[in-house]
Point group: C2
């Protein structure tokens, strides 16, 4: 049987309100005697009382639950962030409702609606794209909200993003310095914040270094594996194939590697590659993989911090936009076409930079 305050009230003889106050540690405030307190505590423990959080949430308008909207939990990058968010929220006493949008805007809208109905106390959202009416509505509810990984400029919302522009710029520029001029990118989902920024960084890096932008070298439209596979096949079959490919996500890279393996292309002699996102196994691949790593830990931690902070100080009027730095890790998968002996003295070197 499920134990309610009423049960305890009956067996102890005290009223429901008294029981409630004791169990909520409000005995002093409401002048409940120590004796009474002891009796109620004992009985509650004995019967294994558990507050009904639905009733409580209804009454208090507070559920101690945060809604997390993520595009794809199975993507290691997002999985990692989810893990951290969950961890930090737990420390703060919050539960997590997770929903996966699969990069589908309608699912996102639906799921956010559902979370709203469930009365979550705050939102951490990695939005799919640029459609944002539903998020705008959310802001009016004045529940804390932070946009993660993907910003929506038009919205006055808290947000935490990585400097995708610089990340892509530096990776591209590094390839250029290594003597590459036919540099292809395999994009993720177009019109997402991250993708747009990365493309912009790529283009600017080329332009700033006097290399013509060839739209044929810009392929793909999805952060997933299949896109990496197909796009790579396409690129390799070109009449004038690229000497370097920049993949915009770990999963794209996975597909790319599959295609490369099938086509028997040698890395880095035939082709240089670099990937966005940390890939745990990167150092141990056939050709250790250069990557642009994003500070996952920071992202997760910052998200929770910002959210909690806003819950505490309801007054906090100004929204904050936080820009985190990425890090370029050069490994052997990038060939330096300038060095005659392909010495690659910069093996494993890490280029650090500070965010703007």
């Amino acid at each position: 049987m499920v134990i309610t305050l009423e049960e305890i009230s009956k067996v102890t003889g005290f009223s429901v309100s008294t029981v409630s106050r004791v169990l909520n540690k409000k005995s002093k405030k409401y002048r409940i005697s120590n004796d009474t307190e002891r009796v109620i505590y004992a009985k509650a423990k004995e019967l294994g009382y558990r507050p009904n959080e639905l009733a409580r949430g209804l009454r208090l308008k507070k559920t101690h639950t945060i809604g997390l909207v993520v595009p794809d939990i199975s993507n290691p990058f997002f999985a990692s962030i989810t893990h951290l968010i969950q961890k930090y929220l737990y420390e703060e006493g919050y539960s997590l409702i997770v929903c996966n949008t699969n990069e589908d805007i309608n699912t996102e809208i639906e799921q956010i609606d559902l979370m709203k109905r469930k009365g979550v106390d705050g939102y951490i959202i990695m939005p799919v794209g640029t459609q944002y009416e539903h998020i705008k509505d959310l802001l009016d509810d004045d529940k804390p909200l932070v946009l993660l990984d993907r910003n929506i400029d038009a919205l006055d919302a808290n947000c935490i993003v990585v400097d995708n522009y610089r990340g892509a710029y530096e990776a591209t520029e590094c390839l250029v310095h290594f003597g590459h001029d036919r540099i292809a990118i395999i994009q993720g989902l177009q019109n997402t914040y991250t993708n747009n920024e990365r493309v912009r960084g790529y283009k600017d890096a080329l332009a700033d270094n006097g290399i013509r932008i060839d739209e044929n070298y810009i392929v793909g439209n999805d952060f997933r594996r299949e896109n990496g596979y197909i796009s790579t096949k396409l690129l390799l079959k070109m009449e004038n194939p690229p000497t370097a490919i920049f993949a915009f996500s770990d999963l794209i890279t996975l597909g790319m590697l599959q295609a490369i393996s099938e086509e028997k292309v040698k890395i880095p002699d035939d082709l240089s590659i670099i990937s966005f996102d940390e890939i745990d196994f990167a150092p141990y691949l056939v050709s250790p993989l250069a990557v642009v790593v994003q500070p996952r830990e920071l992202i997760g931690e910052a998200a929770v911090k910002l959210l909690i902070e806003e819950m505490r100080n309801k007054n906090s009027s100004g929204k904050r936009k936080i820009l985190l730095e990425s890090k370029l890790v050069i490994r052997e998968s990038m060939k330096n076409l300038n060095s005659t002996a392909n010495e690659n003295s910069n093996l494993g070197v890490t280029v650090h930079r500070t965010a703007s």
Copy 2:
């Protein structure tokens, strides 16, 4: 402002109960006129009414929320399963509350308690260990529950597990057939179901093939990366180091690779390795990695199917225990010591089997 039934009641002039019935599509049953229905629908839509799921849950004793307990979402294996569970549940109209236990039994107990209080309609649990009083209590609540990935024999609960015993047995036996007799394992967390079964499979395979079990070759006690690193270092430093290492998880393998790389050990010439869990990048590693893959898709799908089924037929008395098969994928990281020229003709071969 938040719109309630009461609001709609006020502006339309109909009672709250009538509004409720209309919006719940019970107009016929309660003989609400078509005109009334139309008016209420229109107003509800206009005002953007959203039912308060807390109130509803309280009244209905049903929240359409499932609680998922997972040891470590950042582990790709669990992330993948989580993703699938979320996906299938969404299709069935359920939300997901996720909690991470970090393999800590107390966190597990706490979190399950919290979920209970939040009134979830069912549980999918990957328990940390063999302590199970709290789960036993859960069973008495007669909410649907399925144990995933890790069984607890003593409990009469639904459960879906992979045949870890056979998976480990076959991998070990394969190594033996390849001529190895100093085969080490790096265990995951001891006294978890999965680990116990794998150790048992390993031991039986050795015994059945006339190889003495050397406890020195059994190391480790954690499914995470650090364990893989340290344990590998230990093994490599032995006076009589193993010729093959069997890592019990993807993350352990990651740490192992790091250690191997640092120690400049050559795979597979100096050492053969094989890993439990699918690793997406396995084929593209310096030495393509042999693995025992578990059917993630099936695990996730089966979990939800079983849960939903039990929600539908409350009568379902008998609990079901489902055993899924694993699959051994042989790659070059396992050297066949018998074949003189290390031809490894079985490159990429997949050994399939059916579960008992």
